[in-house]
């Protein structure tokens, strides 16, 4: 080594540096997000964030664009039989998985067979358990047969969990596929340092020519809101969601950053236990709905990043109907309460499904508003475990302790069925689903059932309109606000959007030098 001429080493190093230098500056994008990922297998994830991240390397047959409109991704087209039971899906040709194997109908079958097998114990089993069998018609045609007609099925295929995993990789990794994702997406998986970051890099064989436009994405989970905001200011991250309302102004003041408030499908409402006195009286429920100033609530608790809820199903979810907002009218509220036999109000419990600071502000505001018509509400902010015990897993509807309950919902399939059925069908009382109002209307039940059975769009629209109008009239909830989603990005970064369901869309992601 010692005899090695020094100049030679220098030359070699210089040459090496010359060849190693990339033709263009690498475009490395960093996303700062709020919590750690649980898995890279969307079929076994229940959090929106893990599924949003998984879109880096996975794609489904269908998907949603940034406005939650359903679009075909790996599928070319589909046909459904008249009885609504059989879906024939034609697939795009020439698509390869990251491991070089072909994407075809056999892959579709392998994926759906995996999730519908209860032995695999996947967390998204419920979303696909309605699939009876999947068959390969030819290489690029798959036939899916349902157990019962379910007109929202295509939305389930578009759901971020319904992705196509390479069957070869599934065999190779077995259970460990949850940490070794192999899909058809624009990026391939590089590494996952669980505590620190997850990194993906451009997949050169991606089927959509010219995409992706950046070289790598690093997903960094940073729990603390203020720390994420700090990373945006120092340029250590290019995109962050969520931005807390208090930080919005600080970030807006920075010339290189842009704060975006996107509409969401997150509806916040106050459910009232319709099986219990005094909430069994519709007049009491209406009075409560009238007594709350929703615009003021949006300003006070959400920093103005919310607006009064226009109906039972928020805009952006398919088949929503605009029915409100429910007016703020104290005189009417008092009159209704008097008619119901409570001229001086009553005492009750107000629970919140969350214990974060926004929920604290909301419940305090609601308490004050209800006080105006003489209703004295005692606030309890439920921690996740308490919530599960006292509300979500309560076995007997007749003794359920929940009264007024502040909670929210977003329909992850982007369709009215998942926005209404889990919350308001009589079959959805806890513990099975989340009808915390214990609301039961034969009409609504019938509408939901009929809408699921038909594949005709006009029919479906009619059923869902009817159901929403009935619910609005019965007022099992006081609809409060629809949230806006606050994200921030560096102005150099383009093409990253927060979707209405708080997932991300980054197919067009690009970074200007």
């Amino acid at each position: 080594m010692k005899s090695f001429p020094r100049s030679l080493i220098v030359t070699a190093l210089a040459l090496g540096a010359l060849f190693a230098a990339p033709a263009h500056a690498a475009k490395d994008v960093v996303f700062a997000v709020a919590s750690t990922f649980t898995t890279t297998d969307p079929y076994d994830a229940n959090d929106t964030l893990s599924q949003a991240m998984a879109k880096s390397f996975y794609e489904g047959l269908y998907g949603f664009d940034k406005d939650m409109k359903m679009i075909p991704v790996l599928a070319e087209s589909y046909e459904v039989t008249k009885d609504g039971l059989t879906y024939i899906v034609k697939l795009k040709k020439g698509i390869k998985f990251h491991d070089g194997t072909d994407f075809n109908a056999a892959a579709v079958k392998a994926n759906f067979d995996r999730v519908t097998n209860p032995d695999n114990k996947l967390k998204r089993y419920g979303l696909y358990s309605n699939i009876g069998k999947t068959e390969v018609v030819d290489d690029y045609t798959a036939k899916i047969t349902l157990k019962t007609p379910f007109s929202a099925f295509l939305n389930n295929l578009a759901h971020p969990s319904g992705v196509m995993i390479s069957p070869a990789a599934m065999t190779k990794y077995g259970k460990d596929i949850s940490a070794n994702p192999v899909g058809t997406g624009p990026f391939k998986f590089v590494e996952w340092q669980r505590t620190d970051y997850l990194k993906v890099a451009k997949f050169d064989g991606y089927w959509k020519k010219g995409y992706p436009k950046v070289d790598t994405i690093t997903w960094k989970p940073v729990v603390d809101n203020n720390s994420r905001a700090a990373m945006m200011q120092t340029g250590e991250a290019h995109f962050t969601y969520p931005v807390p309302y208090e930080q919005a102004e600080t970030l807006k003041a920075k010339p290189e950053l842009e704060v975006v408030a996107a509409p969401s499908i997150v509806l916040r409402y106050l459910s009232m236990n319709t099986q219990q006195k005094p909430f069994d009286n519709p007049k009491v429920r209406e009075a409560i709905a009238y007594s709350i100033n929703k615009d003021a609530l949006a300003k006070v608790a959400f920093g103005g990043y919310a607006f009064a809820a226009p109906g039972v199903v928020p805009e952006g979810v398919e088949y929503n109907v605009k029915l409100g907002p429910w007016p703020y009218d104290l005189a009417k509220a008092k009159k209704l309460l008097a008619e119901a036999g409570y001229p001086n109000g009553f005492e009750t419990e107000l629970w919140s499904a969350y214990n974060h600071s926004t929920a604290q502000k909301v419940t305090q505001f609601l308490q004050q508003q209800l006080g105006q018509i003489g209703i004295k509400a005692k606030i309890t902010l439920l921690e996740a475990g308490q919530r599960v015990e006292k509300v979500e897993s309560w076995q007997d509807p007749a003794t359920a302790p929940v009264r007024l309950y502040y909670v929210g919902w977003s329909s992850s399939t982007g369709e009215a069925d998942w926005a209404i059925r889990p919350l308001l069908a009589s079959g959805s009382f806890p513990p099975s689903l989340f009808n915390t109002a214990y609301y039961k209307s034969d009409k609504v039940d019938a509408d939901i059932k009929a809408a699921l059975a038909t594949t005709d769009k006009t029919e479906k629209t009619k059923f869902y309109r009817d159901a929403q109008e009935q619910i609005w009239k019965d007022a099992p909830w006081a609809p409060l606000v629809v949230e806006k989603l606050l994200s921030a990005h560096n102005k150099k970064l383009t093409g990253v959007y927060t979707m209405p369901d708080s997932s991300f869309n980054f197919t067009e992601v690009d970074l200007k030098p």
Binding site: N46, P118, K121, G126, D196, E383, G385
Partner: protein, 306 residues
């Protein structure tokens, strides 16, 4: 001495067993169904049942306890309910970051803290003392999360000298270790001062001075050594606390350590992880206490163990 250490180490086992039993009971007394939490907000009952079975939560409590204890005896702490990875891996990769951070914070804070303490004691009730104790009281009263955020705002956002979050390079250690060590330095300073003030009034110090030894020798050789005993005890305690992972500091600086893991685990009712972490904390405390006891003998050779 060796015999003493071995005896103490054997005494560990029953303590850990009792701690293990208590932890298991407490954790399972927490309200909330982990299967329901793990299955997610919009899961159907069938899915919850599948998850319950998958996590082994459908078995009876005594059965789960037996599985837990026999597992632990074989070194198997089960799998995390949240990530489904072995708990030992989960805790293992979190331990070192917390350990290094603790070490970084302890080393500067002990040195600075003792220095302030000694200076304050020697110049008692004069301006160095007043300044030192003002600093110490501020260090104790300033909450760590606020200090962390202020430091980050100044050094990372405004001046751009240091990175905000993460644990990748030595630069990442500066802000969190400052935040974490501030309170420890303050406590050490106050402890050293009070212990030193007492020692300086002892007869042997007077004798030493009467012998005509220089003040430096009196303070460093005769004073410091004897004042160290309570200080070392405190140091051990603080070390144990910090090793548990400071939740606040780890959240603010996104440190991949034990504190954050514990918060996540409690949130999701991740029983196996909570149990393993608490057991580890107890083990750490016991070991540190043992080390402190041994250090006593090193500092003061008149202390003997049998």
């Amino acid at each position: 001495m060796l015999q003493y250490i071995v005896k103490r180490l054997l005494g560990l086992l029953p303590t850990l067993l009792i701690v293990g039993g208590l932890v298991f009971m407490f954790v399972h007394l927490l309200p909330g169904d982990p299967a329901r939490l793990a299955a997610g907000p919009d899961a159907t009952p069938e899915t919850v049942a599948l998850v319950r079975q998958d996590l082994g939560l459908d078995r009876s409590l005594p059965e789960q306890f037996v599985r837990f204890t026999t597992g632990v005896l074989r070194g198997d702490f089960g799998r995390s309910l949240r990530t489904k990875r072995p708990v030992s891996t989960e805790v293992g990769e979190r331990f070192m970051p917390t350990f290094w951070l603790t070490l970084a914070a302890m080393s500067w804070s002990v040195v600075i803290g003792m220095l302030i303490g000694v200076v304050s004691a020697v110049w008692r009730n004069r301006w160095p003392d007043r300044l030192g104790m003002t600093l110490a009281v501020s260090g104790i009263s300033f909450p760590a999360f606020a200090l962390g955020m202020v430091l980050m705002q100044i050094f990372a956002v405004q001046l751009n000298w240091l990175p905000t979050v993460g644990a990748a390079s030595w630069k990442h250690y500066i802000l969190p270790s400052l935040t974490l060590g501030a309170a420890v330095a303050a406590i050490m300073a106050r402890f050293t001062r009070s212990s030193f003030v007492e020692i300086l009034q002892e007869d042997y110090v007077r004798t030493a001075r009467a012998k005509g030894l220089s003040e430096n020798v009196v303070v460093i050789k005769h004073g410091l050594r004897n004042a160290l005993i309570p200080v070392v005890t405190m140091m051990g305690l603080q070390f144990g606390f910090l090793l548990g992972g400071s939740i606040v500091v780890e959240v603010v600086f996104n440190w991949p350590g034990m504190g954050r893991l514990l918060v996540d685990a409690v949130d999701m009712r991740d029983y196996p992880v909570i149990q393993a972490e608490v057991l580890l904390f107890s083990l750490e405390f016991i070991l540190i206490n043992l080390i402190v006891d041994v250090l006593y003998a090193v500092i003061n050779p008149t202390i003997r163990y049998r």
